[in-house]
Structure formats: structure tokens, C-alpha cells
Symmetry: C2
């Protein structure tokens, strides 16, 4: 890298990210599945624009402030799906203002959420499309069974200012058969009430290559696939060569069989995702990052004998999405090796 | 709270923070110990100003960018100690520019670090004060024994542009006796070479009420004490009433004995610090935050029966310092209950 920044720094290899985008888009195209990437992984207007140019139908965000930041960052963002119960008068008002700028859809898993959205969209120029979030086993949000999904669909359809937009789920890993069964039954019940399910949305990078096993779904929302990370290597979903995001760090201290790097939990985060240690040290499989403090990464292993103070290391983090959220800016590496500092548009957007 | 912001939000109770500052300052004054607070916990110019007004002799930072942000944020910051090996020509040049604005001291635990600092401060108007970092058992950075500390002290003293400033350690919890023994012996060896130790600096909130057990130290660097957190309650160092920082969250989903709040790892972080779960829910000891995803906190426990979608909760996080680093702004609560949005000056400063 020609103009390597001060470490620690987050570097994203553009060619790898684009290859990751194209690979899943091609799979989805083959199976007639719309792609609606979750921007939580990159939080970058320019990366969303690449995903949309490759064929994505829109973006997915969790929070209103994330969607606002993405729309502000890129004119390519014209359609955002908020897969989160949007609560509170002020927040729903922000959602309505967003819906006046671009196409917006959201979810609900509770009548209280539907009622709040309906109050906020009363008299809106166009009704807000609301999908029913369904719990297909991840035990996070979502109605518990197809009958409850049908009841909430009817409540949405009966609310002025809203229209029923379909069904959405964030499934557990390996949950494709459950998604297929739940959604097929919910769609049948809803159809019996005279309503159509224009979208059935599923997601998650861990299950993305099995998305076709739940053909009832019409769209898929992968997030981490754009960068990949150590957790996806461990699951067999990605290879090391497909990991586009690395943390660049420097050895700052070296004593008695231990070494410390300048990347701690303020860059790598404490996310384990079931793994041991805090990242893969590229090219040094015999070195582990066994502990983190805020500004220190603690290395151990036989490979330390090769390293001295000042040496640089590249690290594939356990979880790329949370690393993107730690720094105001990352560095995009072009195929010619040049680096461009890029503000992370939706960093820290949690409301 | 009169004008409660959208959740999730970080709120700091100013009166509690001030009481925490005064309490430790009084203890340190009683024992003739200088206080040099680590700003990693609050990252706020105004909070550093309160600490300095209460009697602190200066601030402590890890990284150059942190110190720059603090100096930019408050004219009260006139003395910063960087307890980190500062490496690389560009970074040392930034340290030198900082040293032209305020009084700066730093540490080294290696001759390569000393050599880099000496190159960068060649011809400086005033020499840079460099303390030797000592490993007193935390196994992070630091020379391993008093003889090595003495050798590095001599190397610093012999370097044009630098002067030997004393000894520094980040001790393990309960390590006061080791600190006392290590520092006493190192000071004796260094004195035998004709050098004085003007500062012997120890730190860490977990051990702060035992700081007087290592009377060889001349200054102490507590960080978390300003806010406290669940980890310090668990260690018996602070009470719940002394926790100044809370995360305000809203129940967004409620089904079948589970509930989800809108604060996930993007606010609470995944730091466990040896604890189970991800924070204390104030007023609800029978509710646990048993898991986090990025935007979802997963609650369980009997107390959930009292809660419905839209209810607000206050959470004392496991680790206050890392929570301060997640959002661009926090809310300071005054004794009259009013809230003021305040930019976190040194958020994300890692280089």
C-alpha cells in the first residue's frame, strides 16, 4: 500500500467487495430472488450505490437515522426498507419525512406499532407499506405463528395511512425449511382474507447460499456478504480471500513471549460470535489475538518470534459490521493499491 | 426527564459524576497523591475541565489523536500524559506539535520507542519527558523488571531531545504490593546511576481505594471512576447510586416471555469484563439482558410481565468507557433534570 495511514485503520479492498456483491447478485438472479442488501455492514453511500448498480432493488436499514444518512449520502438510494419496529411520535414523523423523499417500507410485529405508524401517516400523500415481521425461530422480533401474522396483516390493511406490504423474517441459521413452511401458511391464511403478499423478505449472510431452499421468499437481505469476516469463514460461508475488510495494526510492545498491537476493542470490538480470540492475523496462522483492552490487542503464539516493535499486521475481524461502526472513516483500497479516506456515512446511527 | 431524547441514548448525570470526581480527589489529597484522570471514560473536554478544577494535575490519554481532541475541546487542558508507546515518524511529529501547545509527557518500554521519540524531538525547544512503562503483573506493556527499567531510564536520559521523567505502570487488580516493590527497587537502581524519578505513576479505577498501599507512587490515573459501571459494582468498588452513565432504551418488541430493547451492541457493546449479560436494568433486578445483536437487546426474566412495547428502561452498562465511544453525542443531565446534548470530543480517536 502506497500511502498507508496511521494505524490502527480499517481498510476495505474495493475489488473484493465488488466481487462479493456480484457473486450473490448472480446467485439471486439465477433463483429469481430480489436482493435488498442490509447496509449495516458498510454504512457507506458509495457501497450502496455499487450494490444498487449491480441489481439490488433497494437497501435495508434497521433505524430511521441510518436510512436518513444513506439517503443523504447517495442519490442512488431511492428505496429503503426499515426492518425494525418504529416507535414514538417523533421517530414516526421522521419516517414520514423520509417517505416524502424516497420509497420507504417498514415492518411491525405488534398492534401498538401498527397504531403508532397509522397515527403518524394519517393524511399522508401515499400510504406506508408495512410488512409483518415473523419469528421463524431466531427468537428476536416477530409474531409467533402464521395465524398471528394474518391477524396483524388485517390490522395493517384496515389502518388508514398504511397498506399491507407482505411478510418479513430474520431467520435462524439453517432455518430455510421453517421459513418456507411459516411463510407459505401465513400467505395462504392472508390470501383467504382477500389480501396479497407482494413481498416476502428473508435475509442473513450465513444462510444466503441456501436462500433458494425457501422459494416462497421474493427478496433476500444479506448484509455481511459485502465484506465477509472471520465468523463467516468459520461457518464455511466465505474464504479468507473473500474477506474485503481488514484492520491494519502495528506491534507497539514486545516482551517475554508476548506482543501488543495498537488495535484493541475500540477497533476490533469485543464481538466473539462464538469464536475464540479476536480476529485472524493474515499470514500468521500461528498467532492468536487472545485478549483486548480498549487500545491494546494481546497477541500470543509461536509466530511472535518473527515479529518486532513497529511491524505491521493485517487482521480479519470476527465481525465486520461492528468494526465499520467504530471509526469515523475507513480507507478504500483500489486495485492499483491506492487508498482513499472515506467517511462512514451512517456510523453511530442508532435512533 | 423533561426533554428525553429518542432512544437509545447515553445519559450522564452531572451531579453524580462530580461527586465521583470529588470523592477520589479528596482521597488522593489525603494521601498526598496527584490525580491525573484518564479521559478514556468520558472523552469530554468539559468533564476534563471539571476534573482539573477539582484538583487534577493534568489528564491521561492513550493516543495522540485523543490528546489532540481534548486540547482542542478545552482550554483547561494544559498538561497531557500519553501512556502509550508512540511509534512512527508522522505520529511522533504530531506529538511534537502537541508539545508546542501544552505540557506533554509520554512513556516507552523499548529502546526502539525511545529512538523514535528522540529522532522526532531532535532540536525541540524543550525536551520531551519520557517515563519508563513497567509491567507490574498486568502482562500488557512495560519492561519486565527493575533492572530493565533502569537501563531504559539511562537510554532516555542519554537521548538528545528527551529527558527521563520517571516510572509508570498499569497494575493488575490487587497489585499494590507488587507496584510498591517494583518501583522502590527501580527507583533505587536509577538513583544509584545519579537520576531522580520525579514521577511514579500508577492507575486503574478497580484499585483506586488501595492506591495508598503503594506510597512510592506520586500520581494516580483513574479513568472509569468518573462514571462507574456494572463491572465496578461487581468488584465492590462503586454502588449503583454512584453510576453516572446510563443507556436509555425502549422496549420495541414483546412476545411469549421475551422482550427486545432498541439498544444492542452498537450502544452497550459486547464487553463482558467477566460478567454474565450486558448491563443492569435499573429498578428491575429480575430482568437480564442475556444477549445482544447490533440493534437489539434481548431481555429475559420474570419482571418482563410488567413491561409492554413502548416502555422505557435505564441500563447501567458493563463497561462505561466503551459505551462513551459508540455515539457522536451523549446527554448531560443537570440536577434540575434538564438534558443537554453534548458532542463526545474524543470519540473514535484511536491513532
Amino acid at each position: 500500500m502506497s500511502d498507508l495511514p496511521l494505524t490502527p485503520a480499517v481498510v476495505v479492498d474495493l475489488a473484493k467487495a465488488e466481487a462479493n456483491i456480484f457473486r450473490f447478485q448472480a446467485y439471486a438472479d439465477r433463483h429469481g430472488l430480489a436482493v435488498r442488501p442490509h447496509i449495516k455492514t458498510h454504512k457507506l453511500g458509495l457501497m450502496a450505490a455499487l450494490q444498487l448498480a449491480a441489481g439490488a432493488v433497494g437497501i435495508t436499514c434497521q433505524k430511521v437515522s441510518e436510512a436518513e444518512a444513506m439517503v443523504d449520502a447517495s442519490p442512488a438510494v431511492q428505496d429503503a426498507f426499515l426492518t425494525y419496529n418504529i416507535l414514538g411520535e417523533e421517530r414516526v414523523a421522521r419516517l414520514r419525512r423520509l417517505a416524502e423523499r424516497i420509497t420507504v417500507s417498514t415492518v411491525a410485529d405488534d398492534e401498538a406499532v401498527v397504531a403508532g405508524l397509522a397515527r403518524g401517516f394519517a393524511g399522508a400523500a401515499a400510504p406506508l407499506s408495512v410488512l409483518v415481521e415473523c419469528n421463524t425461530g431466531a427468537q428476536r422480533c416477530g409474531v409467533s405463528d402464521p395465524a398471528a401474522a394474518c391477524r396483524l396483516a388485517l390490522a395493517i390493511a384496515a389502518s388508514p395511512g398504511l397498506r399491507f406490504g407482505g411478510l418479513m423474517t430474520y431467520p435462524p441459521v439453517g432455518g430455510e425449511a421453517t421459513v418456507q413452511a411459516f411463510m407459505t401458511e401465513a400467505k395462504r391464511l392472508i390470501a383467504a382474507e382477500g389480501l396479497g403478499c407482494e413481498r416476502i423478505s428473508s435475509g442473513g449472510t450465513p444462510g444466503m447460499w441456501h436462500a433458494h431452499v425457501a422459494p416462497v421468499a421474493t427478496e433476500y437481505r444479506p448484509g455481511t456478504y459485502v465484506y465477509n469476516d472471520r465468523s463467516l469463514i468459520a461457518r464455511g460461508v466465505a474464504t479468507m480471500a473473500e474477506c474485503a475488510l481488514t484492520v491494519e495494526a502495528t506491534i507497539v510492545s514486545r516482551h517475554d513471549g508476548r506482543a501488543v498491537i495498537d488495535a484493541g476493542s475500540k477497533v476490533l470490538t469485543s464481538d466473539l460470535l462464538g469464536l475464540e480470540g479476536h480476529g485472524l492475523v493474515v499470514g500468521h496462522p500461528d498467532i492468536a489475538i487472545h485478549a483486548l483492552s480498549e487500545e491494546h490487542g494481546h497477541l500470543s503464539g509461536e509466530g511472535l518470534s518473527r515479529l518486532k516493535v513497529g511491524d505491521r499486521l493485517s487482521i480479519i475481524p470476527n465481525h465486520a459490521c461492528v468494526v465499520s461502526n467504530m471509526l469515523d472513516a475507513i480507507y478504500l483500497r483500489s486495485p492499483d493499491g491506492s487508498l482513499e479516506r472515506t467517511i462512514v456515512d451512517a456510523r453511530g446511527a442508532v435512533v
